[in-house]
Amino acid sequence: MPEPILKMAKITRDFHDGTKMRRVLYETNLDIFPGELTIIAGPSGSGKTTLLTIMGLILNPTGGKIQIKDMDVTQTSESKRANLRREHYGFVFQLAELLPALSILENITVSSVIQGARLNLQQKQRAQGLLETFGLQDCLRLRPLQLSGGQKQRVAIVRALMNEPSVLLCDEPTSALDSESSQIVLDSLKNISRDKTRAMVMVTHDPRVFPYADRLLKIENGSVVYDSRQSQGSGAV
């Protein structure tokens, strides 16, 4: 059994809702393994996105510990977390979230240059190669507005893969797409998840996506109530 890339121990998260502190994520212990697609499912407001953003070092947990590749990243500065995200993470957002002012090539390489570094030839070639893999080689100089929803989401996947991340986090990547585009995107993500050097986590509330999962987690009211890895559970997901 491979070592987990991401380890979360006793993770909690509280929010102040304007009047009092409210716990949105209860004590959660979770290890994420490479070479598999972990789907976190749950209704709206269940805490699945909160869990995802904590995994992605975007939100700090209120309590607990988080490690990536055996590196404790729980109490790190904003700047260090940004560096870690750039080096180890790839994100696929619900609405692709491409920057409209930049070309497709600039969008997928933005994380490589955002801290001031220049794009080198190797990176440019990698970007072009990835676009070809996803059938988007003609879109290099286009702007996001010129692409369809499905194409934008595939570009977002390419952007997420650009820095060879150890962890790929997807936040409802198909919820804004039609069935055909959803199928294409899910097939692509499934293929990527087979890479033994990378862990992939997807958050969704769409049951049609569940069959793609290698591991299924169900979260309700801030607690993980079902984990297919433990192959125990209370009822249907």
Partner: protein, 373 residues
Amino acid sequence: MRSLIALKMLLYDRSTTIGSVIGVVAIVFLVGQQLTVLFGLFNYMSVLADHSRADIWICSANTENINSSGLIPDRYLDRVKALPAVSWAEPLLYGGASFKKQNGQNEAVQVIGLRNPARAAGPWNFYQGSTEGFLEADGITLEYLDLRFYGNPKLNDMCEINDVRAKITAITRGSKGFSGRMVYTNLVKAREILNTPPGRCRAILVKLNAGAAIPEAVREMAALLPSARVVSAKTLSTETRMYYIRNTGMGGSFGFSTLVGALVGVIIITLTMYTGVLQRQKDFAVLRALGARKKDIFIIVLSQSVIIGLVGLFVGFFLLAGFLSATFESPLPSYLPRQVAPLLAFGTLALCIGGSLLAMRKAISVEPASVFR
């Protein structure tokens, strides 16, 4: 690369960018225009001292500004000329008079009488004629930009100043003063027009030999002429300007107008840049999620501010140059000293960056987690 991202964002969001640029242009043009008029007026105020070609002025005691000098004895001339540091010394006579127009109306003028106009305090530019016109006993000059106020007389026309006959023997170009329209003539004619008693003049202009130190010469002459005021031309020029600034309310008026111009510009920049950041909040959140630090977002917004500033400076100075060019040969005083332009540019850029601080603060406060909401 962050600057390139900044530029692309600006080009994509054209309307907001243009708004910010207009803010910068407003600062440059409004402030610059006020400054050109102010410096133009400064030139008018001290025109006699600035164009005297002399190092030192000898005036009556307690002279506060050029126009407040009383009469002094001509004999001071000989005493001063005897000093070894002196190259030449010339008497100067000037005062207010009334030019009678052909329609019978009068126009206030300042008559300036010179003995050697080519050497000291003479007109520095002619539209028609030359300093040779001073050789004629009745010869006077009128300024080209003021001709319409005199009823558009021509060269060699006869006229009357203070009921004294005179002949227009030259037309100057650029001789504009603060105390009235400038009319040059020879010393004898000036004495007649201004009814000045013989043996008196308004000032003595002194040029020193090359290498002579002005402060030392001033001290030496002051000791020699204790009843007079001896002052360098530069000091008299400055004192004259300050006198008018303080005593006419001009300083406050121009200062207020300049401040309003700058404020308008800063408000426009602040509002448009802040609006731009609000429109791009999602983009900044995405960049943060992808690994941008707060510092990187700050650099992007700062780059945008600098780009807007530079473009605005280019357009603003282009318009200001147009204004200067259009008013060059007009009665409106306009002049921008060379050293003021870079100060205006630097100040404008600083105001532009200052105006964008609110936008920067907003941009770096954007939470990456907001992408997930």
